[in-house]
C-alpha cells in the first residue's frame, strides 16, 4: 500500500512510463498471433495488465486517480458481450460455429498442410475471440489491481 506523502523518484516514474510502451506492444503481439503461436487472449491480456500494475506501483496515487473503475467495468462488459455475440453469430449452424474460417473474407484464408510459417489472416473467428478475451482479461486484471490499490469497498 502506498503511503500518502511518500514520493517516488522521477527515474522510477519515467522508466515505468517508458516500459509501458514495449509491454503493451508485446501484449498486443501475443494476442494478435494467438492463433499461430502458443499464446492468445488470456496470456496477452495478462501481459498488458502487468503494464498497468507497473503504473500503479510506480506512480501510486497519481495513477489511481487518473483511472476510472466504471470505464474498466464497461469495457470488460463490452468485451464479454463481443465474445458471446460472435458465438451467437454462428447460430446459423450451431453455437460457437466458426463461420469465418475458410470463407475468404476476414481471417478467412486456408492454411496449407505441412510445415509452414502460418498465415496471419486465417483461423476465422478465433483471432476475433482472442481480441475480445485479451481486452476482457486486461480490463479485469487492471480492475483487480486498481481496486486492491485503491482500497475501495
Amino acid at each position: 500500500m502506498h503511503a500518502e506523502n511518500e514520493k517516488n523518484s522521477k527515474i522510477i516514474e519515467f522508466a515505468a512510463l517508458g516500459l509501458m510502451v514495449p509491454i503493451i506492444t508485446f501484449g498486443i503481439y501475443v494476442i494478435a498471433h494467438g492463433h499461430l503461436t502458443p499464446g492468445g487472449g488470456f496470456q496477452g491480456g495478462a501481459i498488458m495488465a502487468t503494464a498497468f500494475a507497473l503504473l500503479f506501483v510506480s506512480l501510486g496515487k497519481k495513477a489511481i486517480e487518473s483511472i476510472k473503475g466504471e470505464v474498466l467495468v464497461a469495457l470488460e462488459c463490452i468485451a464479454l458481450i463481443g465474445f458471446i455475440g460472435i458465438a451467437f453469430l454462428g447460430m446459423g449452424n450451431t453455437f460457437f460455429f466458426n463461420f469465418l474460417a475458410n470463407s475468404g473474407v476476414l481471417f478467412g484464408e486456408k492454411v496449407p498442410f505441412g510445415p509452414n510459417s502460418g498465415i496471419f489472416s486465417s483461423a476465422g473467428v478465433i483471432p476475433l475471440m482472442n481480441f475480445f478475451v485479451g481486452l476482457e482479461v486486461c480490463c479485469g486484471l487492471t480492475l483487480i489491481f486498481f481496486l486492491i490499490f485503491k482500497g475501495a469497498d
Binding site: 499461430l36 498442410f113 505441412g114 510445415p115 486492491i148
Partner: protein, 122 residues
C-alpha cells in the same frame, strides 16, 4: 522411473498446500496454500500430455505425413485444460484476497480464528 518424478512433485506440492490450508490460520497463507494445490493439479495435468523431446502442438508445424516423421508433439488438450484451470485459480485467488482485504479492514486482523472468535463474542 526418473521420468515419473513429476507425479512425486504433484503429491508433495498438494501435501504442502493441504498443510497450509489446515494448519495455518493467516488468510494470506491459506490463499497461498490453495494456490499451491491448484499448481499441483496444473502440474499433474500438464505432465499427462508431456512427451520426451516433444514440440509445441501447433498446426503449421505438423508434418504432412505423421507416420513418416520423427517429430513428436506434446498433447494439446491437457494444455488447454491447464490454461483454463489457471484462469479459474487466478479468479479464486483474486476473490480470496479481496475478501481478506475487506475482512482486514473491518476487523484489523488477518488471523481467521481470531476473527471468528471476535465475531462470535459480539
Amino acid at each position: 522411473m526418473i521420468l515419473n518424478s513429476y507425479f512425486l512433485a504433484v503429491a508433495l506440492l498438494s501435501l504442502v498446500g493441504f498443510y497450509a490450508l489446515v494448519f495455518r490460520s493467516n488468510m494470506i497463507k491459506i490463499t497461498m496454500g490453495l494456490a499451491i494445490i491448484a499448481s499441483a493439479v496444473n502440474l499433474f495435468l500438464i505432465s499427462l500430455g508431456y512427451r520426451y523431446c516433444g514440440i509445441a502442438p501447433i498446426f503449421t508445424d505438423a508434418p504432412i505425413d505423421p507416420s513418416q516423421s520423427q517429430l513428436k508433439m506434446v498433447l494439446p488438450v491437457p494444455q488447454a485444460l491447464t490454461l483454463t484451470s489457471i484462469v479459474i485459480s487466478l479468479a479464486v485467488t483474486a476473490l480470496m484476497l479481496s475478501l481478506s482485504v475487506l475482512l482486514y479492514r473491518k476487523t484489523k486482523s488477518l488471523d481467521i480464528r481470531d476473527i471468528k472468535e471476535a465475531l462470535s463474542n459480539d
